[in-house]
Amino acid sequence: MSQMLDTSLGKSLIQILSVVIFFAIWQTLAEFGLISEFLIGTPFGIWKRFIASVMDYSLFIDTGYTLWEALLGFVIGTLVGTSIGLLLWYSKWVSQIVEPFIVAINSVPKIALAPIILLWFGTGLGAKVVLVVSMTAIIALIAAHQATKEADKDLQSLLYSMGADRKQIFRQVVVPSSMPAIVSNFRINVGFGLVGAVVGEFISSKAGLGHMIYNASSLYELNSVWVGLFMLMIVGFFLYHCIDSLERFLFPWRNDAGRTQIRM
């Protein structure tokens, strides 16, 4: 028995079983009136809301909206931040000058920028994308800059002794050796992308999962809130696994032990 539970199938079974038990307890407590259906919702209620929002496509629209904001902002923010972070390697002088500014900007919780960003960029998609960019770019920049500092000095020396110029050292050593750390940081950043999109929608929006959650909670439709939350969880899960696959695809030379990840 215990051997069977140590297999991956056994572990998956336990994981599924614990989720089922959790919902069963929740449902039972609500049936007996021990917890308030009005303030907490019920699994059956959530399921009904889920089916209804699938039937009228509103769930797909909201999910697509949020996913698009998060992804677009993440891609732009990551590209901009990573490029600047990498290029700072070229000039120690410039990087020493801008480093305190980077730290200063990073120490501001970017969420606090949300009201002015919405003021400047309106209530549409653009504002959410800008908010996500502001959250992800600085993190990508710091990750890339740090990674270039840690690029193997001996490999750089070797290339230099071969007669390579700075541009070749950048392209042949600094960028490729920084890439694993940069891509690994995508995991964190893609999560921040979702945070930015949802917070932007909380403040002002016409669609999206954040919009759905905010509206539903102000109307005490707790079941809808849960549908939104579970959808966000699925989206986050999906994005995390996309990054995982991307890593595998990009770095076939790395062994599994070298990867930082939580295995599910």
Binding site: S161, M162, Q172, F251
Partner: protein
């Protein structure tokens, strides 16, 4: 063997000091020695005497404070781009396959790949690495990786090979094997080698000449001619003169250590 070997590279009173909290620390204190054409020159000396610093200056990674280098009659700043540098770490690029790693030097020079690939495959065959072209370095053993590093060095066709304890991280068997691979390659491609080693046994078995350095601040103590006819490093170790040279060089270093204790 050659009656009157020509000087290929001469270092003339090279000085180098490094900054530290207590002021500059002199490391090289007027280092002077010659490297002949097709020489196999080993540099031995107490640890910390700046053996690697000499290489870094020759390769252009560091600049000497003072002194000059003459290469085939011309004064030079460094031999950057003309040397093949090999270190204790194989320094293979983990994200490049074996073939891509050995092609690195040619690519840095901007040479056409097509000729290089032919040559690279030849080398890989000779060194028993065919079939591993597409493997990543981390799947290879230490000895194989160091062979790949050696091919990368040879493929660039450098004027001088700078070998900084290239085999010291390997087990003895692999080391003997790679020593003979190295000697064969050097003879075949008529290369000049400067080898930094702390291993006197290795220095005697491989070298035509050995430079013994003093403690820091470092000067050349002695240059020894090693008169051993060798066809392989293993055979050299059983040569009748081997023991004599071995003890001679040991005593060079022993005197240094005794001085160390006084200081």
């Amino acid at each position: 063997m050659v009656s009157n070997p020509l000087v290929q590279l001469s270092l003339d009173s090279i000085h180098k000091s490094f900054a530290s909290k207590g002021g500059p620390v002199p490391v090289l204190n007027g280092l002077t020695f010659d490297v002949m054409e097709q020489d196999f020159l080993s540099i031995i000396g107490p640890s910390g005497c700046g053996k690697s610093t000499i290489f870094n200056i020759i390769a252009g990674l560091l600049e000497a404070d003072n002194g000059s280098m003459i290469y085939r009659g011309n004064k030079i700043q460094s031999l950057r781009g003309k040397v093949g540098y090999m270190m204790q770490k194989d320094l293979l690029f983990p994200w490049r396959t074996v073939l891509e790693n050995v092609m690195l030097g040619l690519r840095v020079r901007g040479e056409d790949d097509t000729n290089g690939v032919e040559k690279a495959r030849d080398y890989l065959n000779t060194f028993g690495l065919s079939g591993f072209e597409k493997a990543y370095p981390q799947t290879l053993s230490g000895g194989m990786r160091q062979r790949v590093a050696l091919i990368r060095t040879l493929l660039m066709d450098p004027d001088i090979l700078l070998l900084d304890e290239p085999f010291s991280a390997l087990d003895y068997q692999t080391r003997l094997y790679l020593e003979s691979v190295l000697l064969d390659a050097v003879a075949k491609f008529k290369k000049t080698v400067i080898l930094v080693t702390h291993d006197i046994d290795e220095a005697v078995a491989l070298s035509k000449r050995v430079v013994a350095l003093s403690t820091r601040p470092t000067i050349v103590k002695n240059v020894h001619q090693i008169e051993i006819e060798r066809s392989s490093p293993i055979e050299a170790r059983s040569h009748k003169n081997f023991g004599e040279y071995f003890h001679l060089l040991c005593s060079e270093l022993d005197i240094q250590t005794r001085k160390d204790e006084v200081v």
